[in-house]
C-alpha cells in the first residue's frame, strides 16, 4: 500500500528540497542511497520475477500456443484471437457488464470505507471503536465461496432470511438471484459488506496523522463537529483518498472472477456475464490459452487507459497524482 507515497505527498517540501540540492555524481548518489536501495531490492526482484518476466508470455496471444512445443516454437497467427473476441456477438455486452459492475463497485464501494472511517474517528469510546472495527473487517477473511453461499442462502426465495422479513411486512417474496436487474446491487452490496472494514484501516492510519492542533484551532474559531469533519478531517485525508481512487479506477475492469462465477446463473447472464467469467468458460475451461491471454491483454490495455486518464484528471484538478 502506498503509505510512503501518501506521506511523501503530504510533505511536498521534502522532495523539492532534494531537487534543489547541488547536483551530485551518480556514484555519490549510489553511495548515499546504498542501504535504501538494498531495502528496495526484494521489491524489485518480486516485480521482475512475478510481474515483468511473465509479460513475455503475453506473446502467446499472437500465436497458436502449443503447450508442448513451447512459446517460441508455436506459430504466429497475428491478431486472430483479438478478432475472434471482437467478432463475438457478446463481446460488447461482456465489456459493458464488466465496466458497469466495476463502476458500481467504485461509485458505491469506494466512499463506504471513507464514511465508516470518519464515523469511527468520531467515536470517543475506545472499546466500542475497537469492537466496531474488528467486527467490520472480519468478513474480509471469509472466503468468496462461503460468502457466495451465504448470499444465496439469505436471498433464497423459499428459506432465505431476507424474504422472511419481506413477507413479515406483507410483501411478496423476491427471487433475487434470477432477476438480472438485481444482480449488480446484490453483488456490490455483498462486496461492500465483505471489504469495507478492511479498507477503513488505511484511512484510519491517515487520520492519525492529522495534527490535533488543527482541531483545537478550529474549535477556537467556533467549528462544530460537522464543520470539523468538513474542514479538518476530510482535507487531512484527501491525499490518501485521491491516490486510492486513482488506483481503484485502474481496477474497474479487474473484477474478481470468483465471486461473480459463484453468484451467477443462466437467468442473469445478461448483466452478470463478465469478461473473466467468459474467459474462464471459453479459454481456461477449454485450454484455449492464446484466446484467454488475448482477452486479458485487451482488458489490460483498457485498464491502462482508465488509470492514465484518472491520473491526468487528478493532476489537472488537484495537486495529488501518482506521477
Amino acid at each position: 500500500m502506498p503509505l510512503n507515497e501518501i506521506t511523501a505527498a503530504a510533505q511536498p517540501s521534502v522532495s523539492s528540497a532534494v531537487k534543489r540540492s547541488v547536483r551530485s555524481s551518480p556514484l555519490q548518489r549510489w553511495n548515499k542511497g546504498k542501504y535504501l536501495l538494498l531495502l528496495f531490492l526484494p521489491t524489485l526482484l518480486y516485480y521482475l520475477m512475478f510481474k515483468y518476466a511473465p509479460m513475455f508470455g503475453l506473446m502467446i496471444s499472437f500465436k497458436n500456443y502449443n503447450l508442448f512445443k513451447g512459446i517460441w516454437a508455436s506459430d504466429w497467427v497475428g491478431l486472430k484471437y483479438y478478432r475472434l473476441f471482437l467478432n463475438n456477438p457478446d463481446s460488447f455486452l461482456l465489456i459493458k457488464n464488466t465496466f458497469l459492475l466495476g463502476l458500481y463497485k467504485l461509485v458505491f464501494g469506494f466512499p463506504a470505507p471513507i464514511v465508516l472511517a470518519i464515523l469511527m474517528n468520531e467515536v470517543k469510546n475506545a472499546f466500542f471503536k475497537r469492537f466496531v472495527q474488528t467486527v467490520s473487517y472480519l468478513p474480509h477473511f471469509i472466503s468468496n465461496v462461503v460468502v457466495a453461499g451465504m448470499v444465496i442462502l439469505f436471498l433464497s426465495p423459499s428459506s432465505g432470511v431476507v424474504n422472511h422479513m419481506l413477507q413479515a411486512f406483507g410483501l411478496d417474496p423476491i427471487n433475487f438471484m434470477v432477476k438480472p436487474d438485481l444482480f449488480r446491487p446484490v453483488y456490490v452490496l455483498s462486496e461492500i459488506w465483505q471489504h469495507v472494514g478492511w479498507e477503513t484501516i488505511i484511512y484510519l492510519a491517515a487520520l492519525t496523522s492529522i495534527d490535533p492542533q488543527l482541531y483545537e484551532a478550529s474549535e477556537m474559531d467556533g467549528a462544530g463537529r460537522w464543520k470539523k469533519i468538513v474542514h479538518v478531517t476530510l482535507p487531512g485525508i484527501t491525499p490518501a483518498i485521491v491516490i486510492l481512487l486513482i488506483l481503484n479506477v485502474g481496477h474497474v475492469l479487474d473484477i474478481g472472477f470468483e465471486k461473480v462465477f459463484l453468484l451467477y446463473n443462466p437467468a442473469v447472464y445478461e448483466t452478470a456475464d463478465i469478461i473473466s467469467t467468459y474467459v474462464y468458460r471459453t479459454g481456461i475451461g477449454q485450454g484455449n490459452y492464446s484466446y484467454a491471454t488475448a482477452i486479458d491483454l485487451f482488458t489490460g490495455i483498457v485498464s491502462l487507459v482508465f488509470i492514465y486518464s484518472a491520473n491526468w484528471i487528478s493532476r489537472k484538478v488537484g495537486d495529488t497524482s501518482l506521477w
Binding site: M49, F68, L84, D90, M177, A267, G283
Partner: protein, 510 residues
C-alpha cells in the same frame, strides 16, 4: 484471485525453468527394451512416473493394496504424483514444462486429444502390434475403440470399459410416500404432473420434484421427449440436430414452466447444489428426483435409521407423451484414462504393462483384487471377503477402482456391495436406455469455433430456457427464440458435428 490466469501459468513456467523444477532426480536409466514375448511370466522390476488424479472422496493412497497387486503381477511400481489443485491445471503446467512423467491421467478426452495433437503424447495405435490383448479387445469393441480416437485418427488415451456403469442415472421416487397417498408410478409426464400436485397438497412445504445443478439435468429429461439438450444424433433420421430449438423440447419446457409456477420444483432450482438437494430429499421436502442410480443406497442406508419406512426406489422413466419414448439419457460412460508421454524412455515397457490390463486376468485384478486376499468365490460367484459399507468404503480401504487403477472393469464387483434394491434397479434400468450417442472428435480448428460460437449458443440457450421456465419470457415467443438461436450460427455448429462424425465413421471403416 487475479484474472490473469494464463499469465500466471506462464509465470509458473518461467519460475520452474529458473528453479530447475525437477523434484525427482533425473535418475531414469534408459530401460533396455525387451522383446515382447507373449504371456511372459518373468516380471521385470521397473518404475513408471505417473501424474494421477486424486478424487476428493477417495484420495490417492501410496500404501493402498491395489498398487501392491499391480507390482506383484507386472513388476511395475507407479511413482505417483498428485496435483495440489485440479488435474487439468496440473496437466497444462506439466506439458508446458516439457518435463513429463511417463504416464498421465486425464478426466476428459478433449485434453488428451489436444495435448496429443500438440505432440506431447504417444499414439497408442502405433504400438498396437506389441499389444496382442489390446488388439484383440479393440477388434471386439469397435464402438469403444472409436470413441477413444482423436480427430486425426490417432489414439491418445487408453479406452476403458465397465466402470462407466457408475455414472448411470435415472429416475427415483419415494415409493413409501406414493403408496401412502395412493399414487402409482407415473407412466407419462401428465401422470407425473398429477402425482406431483397430489404430493404438494399433502406436503405443502415440499417441492416434490427436485434435482441438482440447475439446467444440467434437462439432458436426462430430453430423451423421453425424443430430443436432446444440446447437439444430438438422431438415429432415426441419421442426422445431427440441435435439441433446444425443437418443438418436442418446447413441450418439455412447458411442463417445467408449469411445475415452476405451481411450486412443484424449487423456486431456486438454479442454485440447488448437491448439499441443498440432499437436504430436500432427506427431510421430506422432495420425493421424485433424477440422479446417479447409486443414490438409492446413499439415501436409504442413511435415512432408514430414523424412518424405517423410507424407501427411495427406482422409477421407470415417464414418457413425454402418451405412447412416447420412455428413455433416459445415456450417461453410463467414463472418458477418463491413461495417457503416455511421447518423451518417455520406456514406451515399449509401458505398452506391455497396459496390455496386461486388457486381459481377463487384468480385468479381474482391478475389479476384485486378489483371490483369498480381497475376494473369495462362493458357489461360483465372487464376493469380497471384508464387509465394506459401500463402494466408497471399498475404494478408500483398498484403492480398487480409484483413479489410475482401472481400465477394463467388472461392474459386478460394485454390484456385490449394493443392496438388493439397487441390484434390482440395475436390472430394470437398461430397458430405459437410449442408444449411446456418438462422441465425435474435433480438430483444433473445430474446437475453436465450438468454444466461441458454441459457447455463445449455449449461453443464449441457458439464458432463454431459464426465462421460459421462470415465466420471465412468454412461451408464445418460442418461434422468435428459435430465430435468434439460428442467427447465432447453429448451422455452423451442426456442420461441424456432421463433418466430425463422418470423419470418425470413415476412420472406423479402415
Amino acid at each position: 484471485m487475479r484474472k490473469g490466469l494464463p499469465i500466471f501459468i506462464a509465470a509458473g513456467m518461467i519460475v520452474t525453468t529458473f528453479a530447475g523444477c525437477s523434484s525427482k532426480g533425473d535418475d531414469r536409466a534408459a530401460a533396455t527394451p525387451t522383446p515382447g514375448g507373449e504371456g511372459a511370466t518373468a516380471v521385470k522390476e521397473q518404475t513408471f512416473t505417473f501424474l494421477d488424479n486424486s478424487h476428493p472422496s477417495w484420495p490417492y493412497n501410496k500404501d493402498a493394496l491395489v498398487w501392491k497387486l499391480f507390482k506383484e503381477k507386472t513388476g511395475v511400481t507407479l511413482d505417483v504424483q498428485v496435483p495440489s489443485g485440479k488435474i487439468e491445471d496440473a496437466l497444462s503446467v506439466t506439458v508446458a514444462s516439457g518435463n513429463l512423467p511417463d504416464l498421465m491421467f486425464t478426466l476428459s478426452k478433449g485434453l488428451a486429444d489436444k495435448y496429443g495433437q500438440q505432440g506431447a503424447l504417444v499414439n497408442i495405435l502405433d504400438y498396437a502390434k506389441d499389444m496382442p490383448n489390446f488388439k484383440k479387445w479393440m477388434s471386439e469393441h469397435p464402438t469403444e475403440t472409436q470413441n477413444a480416437l482423436s480427430s486425426d485418427g490417432k489414439m491418445y488415451l487408453f479406452p476403458n470399459q465397465g466402470i462407466g456403469e457408475t455414472n448411470r442415472m435415472n429416475w427415483m421416487y419415494r415409493e413409501d410416500v406414493f403408496k401412502k397417498l395412493g399414487l402409482s408410478e407415473p407412466q407419462t409426464w401428465d401422470d407425473l404432473y398429477a402425482s406431483l400436485k397430489k404430493i404438494k397438497e399433502a406436503y405443502p412445504k415440499s417441492y416434490p420434484l427436485s434435482f441438482r445443478s440447475g439446467l444440467q439435468y434437462i439432458r436426462n429429461f430430453a430423451p423421453a421427449f425424443q430430443t436432446g439438450h444440446d447437439m444430438y444424433y438422431s438415429f432415426e433420421q441419421k442426422t445431427w440436430r440441435y435439441g433446444p430449438v425443437e418443438d418436442n423440447y418446447k413441450k418439455l419446457i412447458e411442463y417445467l414452466n408449469k411445475f415452476y409456477k405451481e411450486g412443484l420444483i424449487p423456486p431456486d432450482f438454479l442454485s440447488v447444489d448437491t448439499k441443498v438437494w440432499q437436504d430436500l430429499m432427506s427431510t421430506d421436502r422432495a420425493f421424485v428426483t433424477v440422479d446417479y442410480i447409486g443414490r438409492i443406497d446413499f439415501f436409504n442406508s442413511a435415512l432408514r435409521k430414523d424412518n424405517p419406512a423410507f424407501n427411495l426406489a427406482f422409477m421407470a422413466t415417464p414418457a413425454g407423451w402418451s405412447g412416447g419414448p420412455r428413455k433416459n439419457a445415456y450417461t453410463q460412460y467414463v472418458e477418463a484414462g491413461f495417457m503416455v508421454s511421447s518423451t518417455s524412455k520406456k514406451i515399449k515397457d509401458v505398452m506391455k504393462f497396459f496390455d496386461f490390463f486388457y486381459t481377463e486376468e487384468g480385468r479381474n485384478l482391478v475389479s476384485w483384487g486378489k483371490e483369498g486376499t480381497t475376494y473369495q468365490t462362493v458357489n461360483g460367484k465372487k464376493q469380497f471377503i471384508e464387509k465394506y459399507a459401500d463402494v466408497a468404503d471399498l475404494r478408500k480401504k483398498t484403492g480398487l477402482s480409484t483413479d489410475g487403477a482401472y481400465i477394463l472393469f467388472d461392474y459386478d464387483a460394485h454390484l456385490s456391495l449394493s443392496s438388493p434394491e439397487l441390484q434390482t434397479a440395475y436390472k430394470q434400468a437398461p430397458q430405459y436406455d437410449s442408444e449411446q450417442q456418438p462422441r465425435p472428435a474435433f480438430t483444433p480448428e473445430e474446437m475453436e469455433i465450438l468454444s466461441t460460437v458454441g459457447d455463445t449458443i449455449t449461453k443464449k440457450r441457458d439464458e432463454n430456457i431459464t426465462k421460459f421456465i421462470l415465466g420471465e419470457r412468454s412461451l408464445d415467443e418460442w418461434p422468435k427464440y428459435v430465430e435468434e438461436m439460428k442467427k447465432l450460427g447453429l448451422d455452423k455448429i451442426t456442420e461441424i458435428y456432421k463433418t466430425a462424425h463422418d470423419r470418425s465413421q470413415k476412420a472406423q471403416q479402415k
